[in-house]
Symmetry: C2
Subunit: 372 residues, 2 copies
């Protein structure tokens, strides 16, 4: 390759109203300019402690084992299964979308016997069906659910299942990739044992980290494993030795991403969780109303709609790819298309973190009025 | 937690002369300020193509499957074993340091039968001993070696082993975490099948990415696996579908880190590989001479010393922890201590990428003269 053909990189900025990443606050970009320092530098270790502290606030938990995995949100899913599942273990998963189906795939790759409780995409899985499956399979090691299913815009109720698991050995593993920081995720109160998320959705930090929190009950199970965790990189007991007091080297911490996450969490602390949740709910409702006014139909089941991600069925005659291309090229607005069987049929419109502003709703609705 | 206790983050910058991360060029920091865009945005996909192109130059390869894994260097090691090893497969590993021992651990977690060719820490493994083991175990699936062993400062010769493996089914997997971008890593010429590295050493980009390249022979093996790769996140065929022409979503690309890597690679293209290798060799030699002048003894075997990482035995009476603390606190210089059995006995002094400057050698030697 001729060396001079790689020019400057000056992408056109976008309004990120897809399923993530969301827009990033300028303070978070500035934080990434902080000089990189070593993975055992006391200054970096303090930064990590502060991240853990603030993640506990966002996860609404007291779990000491709360940290950010040095990889994107999908790695949180993998960590949540490889650490807790041994070959032959039974896993129950509520399957009502793309990411729930991915949970099945990830659990299977750990050698789990997976029981899928299937539900139509666009609807929540009835808690009683999950509990029935858990009753019929009392040896179940892990029950996996997606709190905010990004592929359909559905919010899964968790409390009833959590209080069932609390009294038993089964761990409740929850994917809060889309919801954390945008809607309540009450890890302790709801009885969630393992909860993971990502940096780039309602936390509004660039993609690259996966926050995770682990209950005492789940940690006991880690310690009693018969086999080694199949992943070295995602081994939570090794990660704990680095994030905790022992400070044993495991991998070279991605300092710039840690700085970014720390600043993103600080912005959340300043706004306050309740205020932030209210903002996502109010503006999410407003966006839904506006889209209905344009002839879009809400896809997700009423009563179970995510505030931060709205799924809509396209009006008749609207060409998915063409309209999204015009939104991107003429208005620099990104919205998400449908995943898997929903491709071409629905859009997924995100209002997450920094993107969740009246300004952006007005811009999208205005653009759509001009295009349609 | 009271929200206001997390203040601004203003760490004191360091001269990073440890085993990595190295110092980062201001252009790379600036690149991270580029707005985050979506994982299927055509602008991001072009950026990824350019990263692959430039990585091929640095890896000295034509392998189409050349990309950056969205996690730190340790994940490259894991990807290199989980993808190519199935339970029961034989793996031969040359073990002469901490990271080679970690290879054994990672391979074992894939269910491999690992044959360790052990060598004293501080020495290279004799190629003939590796080849003997491969001859005795012709069914060996993977031969794993660490090119630059960061724990000891030793450079492992690879050519002879590579040309042996080239004619057989065994894949040669090489850890170039420390060497890539600072010394020749001739993937195609030497017959390396899988080679991985990290962003934060001689590429001088913040930690968080792991460049990897995979030969056609290794890709054939991937396609002929009987079992699924145990890791979904590190599954190279899925990663290829995202980085390659199909553009199938796998995970949300860490855009800011991609921008950083792209800029770091551009800086390397501008300097030119040969110039860059010469700089690391010349200044590495100079540092070694200066350290010997102060009474340090070179630890790594003569003829097999890494240019970018110098390991030295402390002079009698020098207190490891105390002197390193003074270097860090009074001079803001980070040097690395010994890992594992070498703790307290040796230092590991990095001159990688941006850190590799006369200025930094003068500063370290000057500081040591004042302290000792």
């Amino acid at each position: 390759m001729d060396q001079w053909i790689v020019g400057n990189l000056h992408p056109i900025p976008r309004i990120l109203m897809g399923p993530g990443p969301s827009n990033v606050h300028y303070r978070v970009y500035q934080a990434m300019m902080t000089p990189v320092i070593g993975y055992l530098d006391p200054q970096l270790l303090s930064c990590m402690d502060e991240i853990s502290e603030m993640l506990r606030v966002v996860f609404q938990t007291k779990n000491p084992l709360t940290l950010a995995i040095s990889a994107t949100g999908s790695s949180g899913m993998e960590a949540s299964f490889v650490n807790f599942v041994e070959p032959g273990d039974t896993v129950v998963i509520g399957v009502n979308g793309f990411f729930a189906a991915r949970m099945v795939e990830v659990a299977s790759r750990c050698g789990a016997r997976v029981i899928q409780i299937e539900q139509e995409w666009g609807k929540a899985v009835e808690p009683e069906r999950i509990i029935k499956a858990l009753k019929e399979n009392p040896q179940t090691k892990v029950c996996g659910l997606v709190h905010g299913e990004t592929s359909t815009g559905v919010m899964q109720p968790l409390e009833e299942i959590g209080s069932y698991c609390k009294k038993r050995e089964t761990l409740l593993v929850v994917d809060a990739v889309t919801t954390l920081g945008g809607a309540p995720v009450k890890v302790d109160e709801w009885g969630i044992d393992v909860c993971y998320s990502s940096s780039q959705k309602c936390l509004s930090v660039p993609p690259g980290l996966s926050p995770i929190t682990v209950s005492a009950k789940a940690k006991d199970l880690l310690r009693s494993r018969k086999t080694k965790v199949q992943s070295f990189y995602f081994d939570l007991l090794l990660l704990e030795k680095y994030w905790g007091e022992e400070r044993v080297y495991h991998h070279t911490a991605p300092a710039s991403m840690f700085y970014a996450l720390r600043e993103g969490l600080r912005i959340i602390m300043e706004e306050g969780l309740e205020e932030r949740f209210k903002r996502h709910q109010t503006l999410g409702d407003h966006l839904k109303m506006e889209l209905e006014g344009l002839g879009f139909k809400l896809f997700a089941q009423e009563g179970f709609r995510l505030p931060m991600l709205t799924s809509v069925v396209l009006p008749d005659g609207v060409d998915d790819a063409q309209v999204r291309r015009r939104l991107l090229e003429q208005y620099q607005i990104e919205v998400g298309g449908g995943l898997g069987p929903l491709k071409g049929k629905i859009w997924r419109i995100g209002l997450m973190g920094e993107t969740c502003k009246m300004q952006n709703i007005a811009c999208l609705i205005g653009a759509l009025k001009e295009i349609l």
